[in-house]
């Protein structure tokens, strides 16, 4: 079931570039990355593309296929009509390096700004105890493969370069939520999520959830709960009143605000 696939691949660097046409033979069961590799091996040896595991587990081959943010290794050719031309461009939110490769350092800078997990001492026997139901929410977020497609599709930075310094992006809201829901963490990161990470910039239009290849419910399970936690801290009259008259949620005991 081999056929000739027409592709348009973005070639170029920061000085400029354009969509270049290629025709390459592909066969049943292949993914877009296979087609690109064949172009590379037979027609354009210097075609730059970032990839690693080719199994949807490492999150390296993020790009845009027909305008949609996707992992190249998880985009099957069978999803397209054989006569359709497939257009592949680099992620359009990050500075381009060359061809399909972008400079994703924005994400690594944001990772560095986030205060790490701070556990209390271990139990007397040197182990830690946590209930499965208490770690499950965090485990969903830790499925994240850091492909940065959510960061790429988020219009807050995609359409507004000037927001980049003040906005951590969906991937790191996941991380804030993970730590805030961690049964052992001793930090209260709610102020930080609102301030330094800029969670208020998010207008929950859910594109991050739409593009997540791990199907993490970023908006519903991480960002909105985190916004609600911020509201607990800053905008809830009942919580404020409760604190004033000494009725508190003991669940947050032992945490100190960052």
């Amino acid at each position: 079931m081999a056929y000739d696939l027409n592709m348009r691949l973005w070639r170029g660097d920061q000085d400029g570039g354009e969509l270049a046409d290629y025709t390459v033979e592909v066969s049943e069961g292949e993914v877009v990355l296979d087609a690109i590799h064949r172009v590379q091996a037979t027609q354009a040896g210097d075609l730059a593309v970032r990839w690693n595991c080719k199994a949807g587990k490492c999150g390296s081959c993020s790009a845009e296929v027909n305008g949609r943010p996707r992992l190249l290794c998880m985009t099957r050719l069978s999803d397209f009509d054989p006569t359709e031309t497939i257009t592949v461009t680099p992620m359009r939110t990050f500075p381009v390096i060359r061809d399909l490769v972008t400079d994703v350092s924005y994400n690594y800078e944001k990772a560095r700004e986030l205060p790490s997990f701070a556990p209390p001492p271990r139990d007397a026997d040197g182990k830690r105890r946590m209930a499965q139901i208490d770690v499950e929410r965090g485990q969903e977020f830790r499925k994240c493969i850091e492909c940065f497609l959510c960061q790429n599709t988020c219009h807050v930075v995609r359409d507004h370069e000037d927001n980049k310094p003040a906005f951590a992006g969906p991937r790191f809201f996941l991380r804030y939520a993970e730590l805030d829901m961690h049964p052992l963490d001793t930090h209260d990161r709610r102020q930080l999520a609102q301030g330094a990470a800029g969670i208020g910039m998010c207008n929950i239009t859910k594109c991050c959830t739409e593009v997540c290849p791990e199907h993490i419910k970023i908006t519903d399970n991480a960002i909105i709960p985190m916004k609600e936690r911020v509201a607990d801290r800053k905008y809830d009259p009942l919580v404020w009143l409760g604190n004033k008259i000494g009725i508190r949620n003991k669940d947050n005991d032992g945490r100190s605000e960052l």
Partner: protein
């Protein structure tokens, strides 16, 4: 500040002129939302300002419930503390369900996309130059969604009461049911589903906890609300239609355009 070349066509990005290269019909969702929401807003505004044809015993339009102004006889089950209010009684209470829906996490997504085009769809460039999200007035008020949720629960309770009253006939005798009762019943079910599937509700019942294991009952409630929450958008749409349908049905009865279909 924002410059014109700050987005996908900015100087460091891969140079591509198109605002999007999406080939699917991504505009269907925002367009549909725009048309339907606009239609609803127009309809609801007209009906809310009309100030009449909202009661046809035993049915009270949800737009006017509870009827706290200078309402027609039989419509006010909770007195008329705002009897002095010169305008339509709907305007007194509509702010609550309206505020609940306006600050709802689903509706926000829908209208930011469809009305603000911010963004119109994923990976489609938005037309605005600057963007500050929900960090400033007035959008920072989205944070008070839970306040509206508290009132939305009260409103839902009142509408439940109205639905119970709809099991009477025109002469307030119990044990009857008509098409209006059925419509109100369907409506109140979806109103509750919409209200309980709310993200703030999910947070309040258990989501705010860090240790589910220490609060088994709240954990159970949280899992239940979480399941409903996955269909929050669907309930938002369905309840929007159901509210309008009940109101329109009452309108048709009140104006005498049709007669109620009585089952028993």
């Amino acid at each position: 500040m924002a410059s014109t070349d700050a987005g996908v066509t900015g100087p460091t990005r891969a140079s591509i002129d198109d605002k999007t290269l999406r080939t699917d019909r991504w505009w269907i969702y925002p367009l549909t939302t725009f048309v339907v929401f606009t239609a609803f807003v127009v309809y609801a505004t007209i009906r809310a300002f009309m100030g009449r044809d909202y009661y046809a015993a035993p049915y009270l339009s949800p737009f006017y419930s509870p009827c706290l102004g200078d309402c027609v006889e039989g419509a006010s089950d909770f007195g008329q503390p705002f009897g002095w209010f010169p305008l339509s009684a709907a305007l007194i209470i509509l702010i609550f369900p309206l505020g609940f829906r306006l600050t709802c996490y689903y509706y926000r997504k829908a209208y930011y996309r469809a009305f603000w085009l911010s963004p119109p769809a994923c990976a489609v460039a938005e037309p605005h130059k600057g963007y500050s999200g929900e960090t400033r007035f007035p959008l920072i008020l989205q944070n008070i969604h839970r306040w509206f949720w508290y009132t939305a629960v009260l409103v839902a309770l009142v509408l439940s009461f109205d639905t119970v009253l709809a099991f009477r006939n025109e002469d307030k005798e119990w044990g009857h049911m008509g098409l209006g009762t059925l419509l109100m019943l369907v409506n109140i079910v979806f109103i509750w589903l919409y209200t309980l599937s709310c993200h703030s509700c999910r947070h309040i019942v258990g989501g705010r906890l860090r240790h589910f294991s220490k609060h088994p009952v709240r954990y159970r409630m949280w899992t239940w609300v979480s399941r409903l929450n996955t269909r929050h958008a669907a309930y938002a749409w369905i309840s929007l239609f159901s509210v309008a349908i009940v109101d329109f049905y009452v309108y048709l009865l009140a104006t005498g355009t049709i007669d109620d279909v009585r089952f028993f």
